[in-house]
């Protein structure tokens, strides 16, 4: 049996995103308990009385033969929810204080979700990578080979430039015409208000929007051995600060930032999931399946 929750540092040693995704998802699914809320799309759900205009292909003719009444046979998951992942590929995603940086973690996360969507749920899956521009777009699809295209897109997503949600956001509407599940994977080093303001239209457009907030432990609890010069990876700006500040005030500020972002996200009807890069990916998968179940 595959280990259920593999550490990101272990995944980093696996070559190939497909293998990573398969390892994560298979391990995750094998560990799940069967539940009415979670299942595969061909499971029987209920009978529904036929009304004129319904598709005759769904009529249960066996029941009609016994009772001379026409019923439609309904299944779970018969509706498709296209999954689109908006992957932040800015420079700040390159930060990592241990074996896996945030970009790698985001890749593993995206690959796992793609695998689960395409192979498990048979949903269409697509990818948009962006920084301060749209860098790559792969249309959601269930076609054969889609997984490989998505994984290739993830491989090609190199961190550069800086995060700016406002500029690419106006293109999101164009690419996401069909309602579905939209997952934004980023470290969200922007003001929560700006982030919500930029992404709220996606929700208003009928999408299920979830923010996967990927952070390195060092982003939350930085350790300084002494007064240090800090360099912003995106802007190259430098400041000098002290361990005392990093130990007290900074932590308070980060906590306030995270709380603010979570509250505003919830208030906007969007999902929020904080992922630390030293933790397994199961929280993200569970979040996705919860969303997927809620749409059935």
């Amino acid at each position: 049996m595959l280990q259920r929750f593999l550490k990101p540092s272990v995944l980093a040693a696996i070559s190939g995103l497909e293998l990573v995704a398969r390892t994560v998802v298979d391990g995750f699914v094998a560990g799940l308990h069967r539940s009415p809320d979670f299942g595969f799309s061909q499971d029987f759900a209920e009978y529904q009385a036929y009304t004129p205009g319904d598709d005759l292909r769904h009529v249960d003719w066996n029941v009609y033969a016994r009772s001379e009444r026409m019923y439609l046979k309904r299944y779970r998951g018969e509706t498709n929810s296209p999954l689109t992942i908006l992957l932040d590929a800015s420079n700040s995603m390159q930060f990592g204080s241990h074996g896996v940086n945030k970009m790698d973690y985001a890749r593993f996360l995206s690959a796992s979700l793609f695998y689960l969507a395409l192979h498990g749920q048979r949903d269409a899956a697509g990818l948009i990578t962006f920084d301060d521009e749209i860098r790559n777009y792969i249309r959601p699809s269930t076609r054969q080979g889609q997984l490989h295209r998505l994984l290739a897109g993830l491989e090609q997503a190199e961190a550069r430039a800086r995060t700016d949600f406002s500029k690419p956001a106006r293109y999101f509407q164009e690419f996401l015409k069909r309602r579905g599940i939209v997952l934004i994977v980023s470290d969200f080093w922007e003001s929560p208000q700006s982030v919500i303001h930029t992404l709220e239209p996606l929700r208003l457009n009928g999408n299920e929007v979830v923010l996967f907030h990927v952070l390195d432990p060092e982003d939350v609890r930085p350790s300084l051995n002494g007064p240090s010069i800090l360099v912003d990876m995106e802007t190259q700006e430098q400041i000098e600060t002290t361990p005392d500040f990093a130990k007290k005030e900074y932590r308070d500020r980060v906590d306030a930032h995270l709380t603010d972002l979570r509250d505003r996200t919830k208030a906007a009807g969007m999902g929020y999931c904080l992922l630390m890069t030293d933790r397994p990916l199961d929280d993200a998968l569970r979040e996705y399946l919860t969303l997927r179940g809620g749409r059935n």
């Binding site: 930085p222 350790s223 007064p227 400041i239 600060t241 500040f245």
Partner: protein, 669 residues
């Protein structure tokens, strides 16, 4: 204030290391990348000031610790007034009790002077010692006046010979263990003969102040019996009369006639008058020293005419005994070696030995212990029974002389002696057709009296492995020729050539007779019998440490001089008193020894004042060099311990501060 080892201050350059490291550490702050500075604030000035302060304290502590450590190694001292140290001062009273202090009232005067010093020493600690030939402490360093006075009163005259070099050595050793100033009061007759050969041997440490109390100020005339030359042993009833020769010496004396008498067992057997020149010596001969059988206590006396009558007598012991038997074992058909050895013994040893010659086949039924020594002359075979009995004989104290010629060369090993025969060397084939003696040990009487065997030609010798044996004579090619080895209580002498005039021409050489005579005396132990010794000489009691046979010594007072444990284990015994010692050695032999004080003690000439001033002045000068000024009243006190305590305190504070800082780092990580 000063430093005992100022060159350690060169290590102060090492202080720059922590300074450099601290500065380096402050300047090597590498920029650190973060995802975003969105939530950070600049805190440069306030934080750096705080950090500098904390690092400054840490740096200061580290510098202080290193500085103090260097100072501790430099060993600082302060000069303190000796007066403030009166309680720490040690007043050491050394009373000379050498033999010359028996003259007149010298010892009593010395004691009286010591009492006077004791009365004025104040609260300082005192210690009493006597110095004869060695320094002997009578008390510990105490303040109890009564105990110190009792110790002074208990000082008895001795018979040793004083040497001020030995006194200075003992004081130097004492000063190493006593770190307080020592005031050394030396009460002596300040004999010139007690001066050390090298004046530097008498140097005293810097913390010792020497005060001499001479009980006499000028030389006193003294006559003495300086030496007596008489045999320690005479043999047989009809032995030729032996004579004794005495030397009468006068030190600082005018020309005079002295009456000398020879006393045997308390009876005057001869008396002579001898004219002693002014400050000179005269010899007196006693032509016939008639002594009865056994050990006899003899002495030569002169009539007492000076203030030092104790040195007017010189003791010696003479033993009269029957001639001792010696056994010569030779090969069947060998008639040469009995001839030469017998002739040599009878010619030289005044009928001391009766030589019995037998061939090896007749030797089995002989009892070796009946003979004073045994000679094995070039035996090709030795019956095992004989070899075992000879080995036991040697181990129990017997003596053996082995001559190994051509017949013995056929063996692999010298019997009893145990040396392996490496090869036989036939020198008749070398260009000179013989080999001469190359080197010889002149301290060995049998060789020294035979003039080192010069001119003796050796044609054949055995090259043996000497092992732990003493090599006395070597041939020119370094072949060991004469060796001696101690086995148990006995001794074996090996000649690696023959005594038969075939393998060498030794028996025909003039050196042969004295060699045989001295070897016979040596092996029979006659040399150690009787005679006279000097006080402080050592008497050899046994050869082998493992031998359990006890020895017995009766001192001049008739009491046993050794405890039971000493009697079972002591290797030697020091003759500390003048008189007659009766000794029973570990090998069972009895002996009587006359012991006399060193004749140097009879010369009552005193050390000149300038020499005494030099002895004391050099000491004062050394103190002056060390303290700088006002010297004799100053003493140096080391501050090493105090500095080390400060080092410890600084190290503790540094550890606490550093661990606090490191603890913060751990919490942050």
């Amino acid at each position: 204030m000063g430093l005992f080892a100022p060159w350690f201050l060169a290590a102060l350059a090492g202080l720059s290391l922590p300074v450099y490291l601290h500065l380096l550490k402050r300047q090597t702050s590498k920029p650190k990348q973060v995802s975003s500075l969105m939530l950070y604030e600049s805190r440069t000035q306030a934080s750096t000031r705080h950090r500098s302060l904390r690092y400054f304290i840490l740096l200061s502590l580290r510098l202080a610790m290193l500085l103090l450590l260097i100072v501790a190694f430099a060993n600082p001292f302060i000069n303190r007034d000796a007066a403030t140290f009166s309680s720490n001062r040690l007043v050491l009273l050394v009373i000379d009790n050498s033999f010359s202090m028996r003259a007149g009232t010298r010892l009593a005067d010395a004691k009286e002077a010591a009492m006077t010093v004791l009365s004025g020493k104040g609260a300082a600690r005192g210690q009493v010692a006597v110095f004869g030939s060695q320094l002997q402490l009578m008390t510990q360093a105490i303040e109890d006046q009564a105990a110190l006075r009792a110790a002074v009163q208990s000082v008895q005259p001795g018979d040793g010979h004083g040497n001020f070099g030995e006194l200075a050595r003992a004081i130097r050793s004492l000063a190493d263990s006593v770190h307080t100033p020592i005031e050394l009061h030396f009460f002596s007759d300040m004999q010139r003969s007690s001066l050390a050969g090298n004046f530097s041997d008498m140097a005293l440490p810097a913390n010792v102040k020497l005060v001499t109390h001479a009980v006499v100020t000028k030389a006193q005339p003294n006559w003495t019996v300086e030496s007596v030359d008489a045999p320690g042993q005479v043999w047989g009833k009809d032995a030729k009369p032996v004579h004794a020769r005495a030397v009468i010496a006068g030190f600082g004396t005018p020309a005079a006639t002295r009456n000398a008498s020879l006393v045997v067992n308390g009876k005057t057997t001869a008396a002579k008058t001898v004219a002693v020149p002014a400050n000179g010596r005269a010899t007196v001969d006693f032509a016939a020293l008639e002594v009865p059988y056994g050990f006899n206590r003899c002495e030569v006396k002169i009539d007492s005419a000076d203030a030092f009558p104790a040195d007017d007598v010189r003791r010696f012991a003479v033993q009269r005994s029957d001639p001792q038997k010696a056994l010569l074992i030779h090969n069947y058909g060998d008639s040469r070696s009995p001839l030469y050895i017998g002739a040599a013994l009878s010619a030289a040893a005044q009928s001391a030995f009766l030589l019995e010659s037998i061939n090896v086949n007749e030797a089995a039924d002989r009892q070796p212990s009946n003979y004073a020594f045994i000679i094995l002359s070039d035996l090709n075979t030795i019956p095992p029974l004989l070899e075992n009995s000879l080995t036991g004989y040697v181990r129990s104290g017997g003596s053996l002389f082995i001559a190994a010629g051509t017949s013995a060369g056929a063996r692999l090993q010298i019997p009893i002696f145990g040396a392996r025969i490496a090869e036989t060397r036939d020198y008749s084939r070398v260009p000179d057709r013989f080999m001469a003696v190359g080197s010889s040990d002149s301290s060995y009487a049998a060789v020294a009296k035979a003039e080192g065997w010069t001119g003796v030609k050796f044609f054949y010798a055995l090259a043996v492995d000497p092992g732990d044996a003493r090599v006395i004579v070597r041939l020119s090619d370094q072949t060991p020729l004469l060796l001696e080895k101690r086995i148990g209580e006995g001794r074996v002498v090996l000649l690696t050539s023959g005594l038969d005039n075939l393998t060498n021409d030794f028996p025909l050489n003039p050196a042969f007779v004295p060699f045989i005579e001295q070897t016979a005396r040596y092996l029979a132990g006659s040399q150690r019998q009787g005679g006279a010794r000097v006080v402080d000489a050592y008497l050899e009691l046994r050869n082998a440490r493992e031998q359990g046979q006890g020895v017995e010594i009766s001192g001049p007072d008739g009491k046993r001089a050794l405890t039971l444990s000493q009697a079972a284990t002591a290797q030697s015994f020091q003759l500390t008193e003048a008189g007659y010692y009766q000794v029973r050695l570990a090998d069972g032999r009895q002996n009587l020894v006359g012991v006399n004080p060193d004749s140097k003690e009879s010369n009552l000439d005193v050390i000149p004042d300038e020499v005494m001033a030099l002895w004391q002045g050099r000491n004062a000068q050394a103190t002056q060099e060390a303290s700088g000024a006002a010297v004799s009243e100053k003493t140096r006190q080391s501050l090493w311990w105090y500095v080390m305590l400060l080092v410890f305190a600084a190290a503790l504070a540094e550890s606490v501060l550093a661990s606090r800082y490191l603890g913060t780092q751990r919490e942050e990580s």
